[in-house]
């Protein structure tokens, strides 16, 4: 559904024929190092989609096979798990070019600069827009990149620095965004996707739920000790509701962003809610609220999804009551009346009630009601 970042190792494996780099993973370090060549000096880099690794000290130059383990372990001590080793390639700084290819509505847009390398951002004017046909790079190379982009569902390819010697192009660094919707036709997979930060346990659990369901689930921690925990439905409504906390100058109180949509089943909603509640219960905020909100759904059944939410609330009821957590609800859509009535009676009976509204109040008012509770 969205664009995802591939590891540098996978990006180059796709773009370069007979690619000589080696992927080094903490989980399989001995086996990975064994494939390195005795006589080749390597550059070892963190491979988790982080930019400006040189400036941040996330790469080691001239590393021999014998020294590889020490280099990786040192970098791993900063909290990383994926690395890449490539044969050293000597060149002059003035050889470094910048090029990027991005899929756009009217074709592939190309950005190119003669002044590539780490300083390209300081020379933004040197980066100019070209088409596939006009960019001053070897035609065969450009065509190859386009072919790979189309075959592998790549949406964005950035090569910086790129070294061009006659017809030969050497990719010193490459960042690739792939279209996750095309994964089923591509040779890369979920394991090649990197994130600059490690997903938390809850984030990983919900990502997995999302993968195995026709409905959509997302969850991202914004503040582990947040006071407002959001159980939102709908891609648009969820942003709009989160915006309201920003409007009130209280975005620091928001614990998470996330949403469920696309008509999930009662069981899926139960599992999702359990994960969100777990995260809410571990927050150290003194007063907490759970906001169950969404717009007027087109097709997601309010009664069915609320059934799953109540099941999860019930499982954590003791902890929720002990921490004095209040639940605030605003929702509309199919079976709205039945769903809201069921939720209201459950919350009141179990002393969790903050408020319950249908589509008769503005979507975001529920945030303000919750803020009164947590930020009094």
């Amino acid at each position: 559904m969205a664009r995802v970042k591939l590891s540098e190792y996978r990006a180059k494996s796709l773009l370069v024929d007979n690619y000589a780099g080696v992927s080094l993973r903490l989980s399989s370090l001995d086996d990975d190092i064994a494939t390195l060549d005795e006589n080749t000096p390597y550059v070892v880099k963190v491979d988790q989609g982080i930019k400006k690794r040189g400036k941040q000290g996330l790469l080691r130059l001239n590393v021999s096979k014998q020294a590889a383990r020490a280099a990786v372990e040192e970098l791993a001590s900063k909290g990383f798990t994926r690395f890449i080793a490539e044969p050293m390639f000597t060149h002059e700084e003035n050889e470094e070019r910048y090029v990027s290819f991005e899929r756009a509505r009217e074709g592939i847009a190309v950005q190119y600069s003669e002044q590539g390398g780490v300083n390209v951002e300081e020379n933004p004017a040197s980066v100019q827009t070209f088409t596939v046909d006009t960019v001053p790079l070897p035609k065969a190379f450009v065509q190859h990149v386009i072919d790979v982009m189309n075959r592998e569902h790549l949406s964005f390819v950035e090569i910086n620095p790129l070294i061009v010697r006659d017809d030969e192009c050497v990719l010193l660094d490459a960042a690739v965004l792939a279209d996750s919707a095309g994964e089923y036709q591509a040779s890369w997979d979920e394991d090649d996707v990197v994130e600059a930060r490690q997903p938390t346990e809850t984030e990983a659990a919900i990502a997995k739920l999302n993968q195995n369901s026709p409905a959509a689930f997302s969850f991202r921690i914004l503040n582990e000790d947040g006071a407002l925990w959001l159980l939102l439905s709908g891609g648009g409504a969820s942003i709009t509701i989160a915006d309201e906390a920003m409007n009130q100058g209280k975005s620091s109180l928001v614990g998470n962003y996330g949403e469920y949509s696309g008509g999930p089943s009662t069981e899926e909603t139960y599992l999702y809610t359990l994960d969100v509640l777990h995260q809410a219960l571990t927050s150290k905020a003194p007063k907490k609220a759970i906001i169950i909100a969404g717009g007027v759904a087109n097709f997601t059944d309010v009664k069915k999804t609320f059934g799953g939410i109540i099941q999860a609330l019930d499982e954590k009821l003791g902890d929720l009551q002990e921490q004095g957590i209040r639940v605030y609800v605003r929702r509309g859509g199919p079976n709205e009346v039945e769903g809201l009535a069921m939720m209201e009676s459950y919350l009141k009976k179990n002393n969790l009630f903050g408020s319950v509204h249908g589509s008769d109040i503005v979507l975001t008012d529920v945030i303000n009601e919750a803020l009164e509770h947590v930020d009094a």
Partner: protein
């Protein structure tokens, strides 16, 4: 994109792809409440059934299903819109198959949210640029009150349609990136005393075929629209394109907008929100930058949903939309099965479209049975004539044959009419009386698969199998069966008879090998029935195949022979010879 007022005048029909009963039902509810005389969904492309049943108002209606768009085309002729509920992986192929089959269609909506970018762009190139209106991938589609509901926009529950007055056109266009928010906004518009002119959700994908820009131009061109309400999100450059439209005077109608996603600006790293496009790659793609640009162009930009609601309420009100009474839809109940054969009516019992008294007045049992077999009155008298002749020739072929014998044995064992008849009927099968359907399949497959008769015969000889409809115990070359000769009189009355010709070509080969391998009465009935159904009743090959699969052709034997079995039963009761038992020398004890 397609002009909205032309859709309002002539909404057209929809071909749906995929199974989504609740979504399709609200489209029918919408059509019904709009006062249309038939559902806008003309057919459904799905592998799973021949028909799907939906409510039409308080009653029910069957919508035909087709395995492919081509088959739908052959049966439906033209449709104007595609509604594609297939998954993201199947959306591309099925959309292409739709426009290949219906090149004159106006457009469609793709519901799936995970269509690959490459596919979305290819669809944009192929169709949107060729004047089709393709909405999505993703989003919830297009709603033109009183005319067209193409997608789940506006809800899947008729109560939502009723509450938001979606059957009567107003003057506020609602355009949205989000499927959930469009319904939220429709509700705000409706509950503040306005009505919508149309609602279009282009979706939150990166490359929707119909872009926000095109949606705005459609709203500008639509005479009924006086105001535009817009919901956008962070990510992409669409709002800057809208600013260009407004500042260059291409969009002049007042716009109220909310751009969601300021929450995304509180973090160091850009955050990917729920929709694929909802990620700000740079400053100009942030919600704040878009809000500023739109406000500078004169758009009323709301900073919060509360302000947004107020701004919508402040839009000058036109006449209050008419309410449509939908309460008749409450409490309706789905039936357990469907029937097209008979019903009770005020005039008594109706059978195949006519009261039984009328059948009695017409006085033709063959016509009634022919209508019963076809499920409708035959178009041609020849069909009835042929079936009448088949019945007259098939009523009984002597007490020696298996079915009659079993009836007789059962009758003599002291059983009643129904038991004895059942014993005879249950004998009918592949070796006795049940060969008409087998023969029909032989001739049908031979003709439609353009088999060469020599090869057909050869393949059966190799497999040591009999060909259905060929061969007789008594009659042979030089000693023709008088029944087949009588049936052959029908050949000359048909303008063309390709099944009969094929059967005769097979007979020419088999009878030259062995004189008894002639086209028998079953094979002749099967061949001529196929020709008559095709020539006189205009059945398609698909319809003929369905009849073969349903064992239709054996009915031509079962019905008359029932009379024969009853005759034998009554005869035995009259003669009353007592229990039948074989003598010992009738049985070889091996």
């Amino acid at each position: 994109m397609r002009n909205i007022s032309s859709i309002r005048q002539n909404p057209g029909k929809i071909l749906a792809f995929g199974n989504y009963a609740a979504g399709y039902q609200t489209i029918l509810d919408f059509d019904y409440l709009c006062g249309k005389d038939a559902p806008s969904i003309a057919g459904i492309v799905t592998a799973s059934a021949k028909f799907q049943k939906f409510f039409w108002g308080n009653g029910e209606v069957l919508i035909p299903c087709f395995p492919t768009a081509d088959k739908a085309k052959a049966s439906l002729g033209s449709v104007e819109w595609m509604l594609n509920i297939n998954s993201g992986r199947r959306a591309f192929q099925s959309t292409v198959s739709f426009f290949d089959a219906f090149p004159d269609a106006l457009g469609g909506h793709i519901f799936a949210e995970d269509v690959p970018e490459i596919h979305a762009l290819e669809l944009y190139e192929r169709y949107q640029k060729q004047d089709k209106t393709l909405i999505g991938p993703a989003g919830v589609g297009l709603l033109v009150p009183g005319a067209l509901k193409l997608g789940v926009v506006g809800g899947v529950d008729w109560r939502q349609l009723e509450k938001n007055h979606l059957m009567t056109a107003g003057n506020v266009a609602v355009l949205s990136a989000s499927g959930g928010m469009i319904n939220e906004i429709i509700t705000i518009v409706a509950t503040s005393g306005h009505a919508i002119s149309f609602a279009l959700c282009f979706g939150g994908d990166r490359f929707p075929s119909t872009s926000p820009r095109e949606a705005f131009l459609a709203a500008e061109a639509d005479e009924a629209t006086s105001h535009i309400v817009y919901y956008g999100e962070l990510g992409g450059q669409d709002e800057h394109e809208l600013v260009d439209l407004i500042t260059s005077g291409k969009v002049t109608k007042p716009v109220v907008a909310y751009i969601a996603g300021v929450i995304g600006e509180g973090f160091d790293q850009p955050v990917q929100f729920g929709h694929a496009k909802a990620l700000a790659n740079n400053k100009s793609e942030t919600a704040s930058a878009k809000r500023r640009a739109l406000a500078e162009a004169g758009v009323k930009v709301a900073d919060s949903m509360t302000d947004f609601s107020k701004a919508i309420k402040d839009i000058p009100q036109n006449e209050k939309p008419e309410s449509v009474d939908a309460t008749s839809l409450a409490g309706r109940k789905a039936s357990l099965f469907s029937s097209t054969i008979s019903k009770e009516s005020s005039e008594g019992y109706e059978f195949i479209g006519a009261p039984l008294q009328q059948w009695a007045d017409e006085g033709d049992i063959a016509l009634q049975i022919t209508s019963a077999l076809l499920g409708k009155r035959p178009s041609s008298q020849k069909t009835t004539e042929f079936i009448r002749t088949v019945f007259l020739l098939s009523v009984d072929h002597g007490p020696q044959v298996s079915g009659a014998l079993n009836t007789i044995v059962t009758a003599r064992a002291g059983k009643g009419l129904v038991d004895s008849l059942a014993a005879g009927l249950l004998t009918i099968g592949p070796r006795f009386g049940g060969a008409v359907s087998d023969a029909a399949r032989e001739w049908f497959e031979g003709v439609t698969e353009a088999k060469i008769p020599e090869e057909h015969v050869e393949s059966y000889a190799k497999a040591k199998k009999y060909i259905g409809g060929i061969g007789h115990k008594k009659y042979r070359l030089g000693l023709p069966d008088p029944r087949t000769a009588r049936l052959a009189d029908f050949v000359d009355e048909l303008p063309s008879h390709r099944y009969y010709d094929y059967a005769k070509a097979i007979e020419a080969i088999t009878s030259s090998k062995k004189g008894s391998l002639i086209l028998n009465v079953d094979g002749t009935i099967a061949a001529l029935m196929l020709d008559i159904l095709e020539q006189e009743e205009k059945l398609t090959e698909d319809e003929l195949r369905q009849l073969i699969d349903a064992d239709f052709f054996n009915a031509l034997f079962v019905i008359p022979r029932t009379v024969g079995f009853v005759a034998h039963y009554l005869d035995q009761k009259r003669l009353d010879e007592g229990l039948f038992r074989l003598s010992d020398d009738d049985v070889h004890l091996a």
